[in-house]
Amino acid sequence: MEYALEVKGVTKKFSEKGRDFYALKDINLNIKKGEIFGLLGPNGAGKTTLMNTIIGIVLPEKGEITILGESNKNKEVFDRINGISAETYFHWGLKPKDILRFYAKVYGIEKKAAENRIDELIRIFEIESILNSKFGRLSTGERMRLAFAKAMLNKPELLLLDEPTLGLDPHIAQKTRKLIKLINRHKKTTILLTSHYMQEVELLANRVAFINKGKIIDTGTVSKVKLKHFNTYDLWVKPKAIPHKNIVKSIGFEVKGQSLYKEMKTKEDLSVILAQLHKHGIDVKDIKVKRPTLEDYFIKLAEK
C-alpha cells in the first residue's frame, strides 16, 4: 500500500543547558491515503516537533520521512502538501488577497486559474467581508479561515494541521472541525491532525496515535484503542427508592449518593442487568451509561 506519509525510526535529540533530551524517540507512523489521522498527546509530548520534522524545519538525528512516495528532502513534493497551525501568521501589512496571490504564485498556479481558485476559496471559507482588512487587523477566527483558504490553494494531497483549534472560541472551533471534515470528504485530502483535545480527535480521526515524552505509545482506530484499554464502562442507575444494601450487593451494585453504581464489562448485556433490577423490585427512574472516551485514556496515560 502506498501511504500519504511514512515516518520511519525518526529520532530527535535536543540539548538544553548542557542536558540532552529526546523530543522524538524512534517514531514510526504510516498514514493511509484519504484518512484523517489524529496525533494526540499532552503539551510538550513531541507533536509539533514531529510536524516540524516532517516539513524539514527540524533535522532529525535518525530516521526517514516519505511524503507521497518522495523523501521530504525533495522540495518538489512540498507543492503537493500544505499545512497550518494554531500559530499560522502572515505578514501583518498584507490583505487576504495579497496573501493568497503570493502563495498561489509560490505554488506555481497560473494567474487566471489562481484568481478563480482564490475566488472559490473566498466563498468556501466566507472571507468576503475581510478582503479590505490587513492581516494584522483580523480576529483569530478570521485569521484561521484565511489560513484554511491558503492551505487549500494548491489542492493538497496531504494536509498537516497542528492544533488548528487551539485558542479558538468554541463556535469557531466547531466551524473549523466542520471544515476539516469537509476538506477530507469532498477533496479526499489526507489529513494529519495533532491535538490535545481528545473529543476533537475522537470526532474527526479514523485512526489515532498517542505520543508522550517523544514516544508513540499506541496506534490504531479510535474504537480499537478504547477497547484495548477499557474493557469496562460505568453504569449509574437512579432508583425511586434506595433498596436494602444486601440486595444492592447481591446484584453487584454499590450505593453512591442517591444512585446505584456498577462497573460493567464491555461484553455484559445491559438488558440482563435491567431485568435483574426489575426482579428485585427496584423501580428505575433514570439510567446513565458512561463509556470511556479518549480523554479517559489520556488521563490514564498521564498517570502512568
Binding site: 535536543f14 540539548s15 524545519i57 527540524v58 522540495k75 518538489e76 512540498f78 507543492d79 502563495y103 509560490v106
Partner: protein
C-alpha cells in the same frame, strides 16, 4: 495623560535595557562608531578643505546605498520572523538559498533605484556622478552589501531572532573600518591591515579619489572587486552551515 502609566512603561523599559544585552550595545555602539568616523574626518578635512564637501556627498551616497542594500535584504527576512510567517513560507518548499536570493534581488532593485535617485539629485548641485567608473563602484558596493546581508542572515539563524539588531548595526562596523571619509593610512597599523580586508575600503578610496581627480584608478576597482567577491564566496557556506545548525538545534522552528 496618566503619569502612573508612563512611569510604569519607563520602569519596564529600564528592565528591558538591563535584561536584553543588545540594548546596552545599541546605546554604546552607535555613538562610539559615529564619533570615530566623523572625528577622523574632521582631522583629514583640515588638510583638504576644498574637496571636503564633495567627498562628504559622494561618500554619503555610497554609505546610504551600501546600508540600504544590506539592511533591506535582512529586514525583509526579519519581517517574516517577527510576523511569525517564516514557517508558512518554508512549508511551501522554498529552500534557504531561494529564500535569501529573493530578498537580495528585491533589495538590489530598491537600493539601485535609490542610488540612481541620489546621483540624479546631485546634478541639481552641479555635480555629475554619472560616469562609467562610478557604475563599477556601485556594482562593487552592491556585491559587498549582498555578501554582508548573507553573513548577517547567517548570524541571525545561528544566534536567534533576538539578534535581529545586527540587521542595522553590523554594517556600521564594516563601514567604520573601511575608512569612509579619510584615508585608511590614518588608522593605526593593525587596523590598517584590517582595513585592506574591509568590503568598502576600495570603494570609499576610489570615490574620494574621483571627487578630487574625476577618475578612478583601475587598481582600486580590481582590489575592491576581489575583496567583495571573496566576501560573497565565503558568506554562502557560513549561511548554509548556520541554517543547517538552526534546523538541528530547533532554532529555526522557534523562529517561526
Amino acid at each position: 495623560m496618566r503619569w502612573r502609566k508612563i512611569r510604569s512603561l519607563m520602569y519596564r523599559d529600564s528592565l528591558v535595557i538591563r535584561r536584553v544585552s543588545f540594548r546596552i550595545l545599541e546605546i554604546i555602539y552607535f555613538p562610539i562608531t559615529t564619533i570615530v568616523i566623523w572625528g577622523l574626518f574632521a582631522v583629514y578635512a583640515r588638510q583638504m578643505a576644498a574637496e571636503a564637501g564633495l567627498i562628504v556627498l559622494i561618500i554619503n551616497i555610497f554609505w546610504a546605498f551600501a546600508h540600504l542594500a544590506q539592511t533591506s535584504s535582512n529586514v525583509l527576512m526579519m519581517e517574516d520572523i517577527w510576523s511569525g510567517s517564516l514557517k508558512q513560507v518554508l512549508l511551501t518548499g522554498i529552500t534557504e538559498f531561494e529564500y535569501l536570493v529573493a530578498r537580495m534581488l528585491t533589495a538590489s532593485i530598491t537600493s539601485t533605484f535609490m542610488v540612481v535617485a541620489l546621483i540624479t539629485l546631485s546634478l541639481l548641485f552641479g555635480i555629475n556622478f554619472f560616469q562609467t567608473d562610478l557604475i563599477f563602484l556601485i556594482l562593487i558596493t552592491l556585491v559587498g552589501s549582498m555578501a554582508l546581508a548573507v553573513i548577517v542572515a547567517a548570524m541571525i539563524f545561528y544566534m536567534g531572532r533576538e539578534y535581529g539588531f545586527l540587521v542595522w548595526s553590523a554594517i556600521q562596523l564594516f563601514i567604520m573600518f573601511s575608512a569612509p571619509f579619510f584615508p585608511k593610512e590614518m588608522f593605526p597599523k593593525a587596523i590598517l591591515y584590517l582595513s585592506y580586508l574591509m568590503p568598502f575600503t576600495a570603494v570609499f578610496e576610489a570615490a574620494r579619489g574621483f571627487s578630487v581627480t574625476g577618475t578612478v584608478p583601475a587598481g582600486l576597482l580590481w582590489w575592491g572587486a576581489a575583496v567583495v567577491v571573496s566576501y560573497f564566496i565565503i558568506s554562502w557556506p557560513l549561511y548554509y552551515l548556520s541554517f543547517r545548525r538552526a534546523r538541528k538545534t530547533g532554532m529555526l522552528a522557534r523562529m517561526h
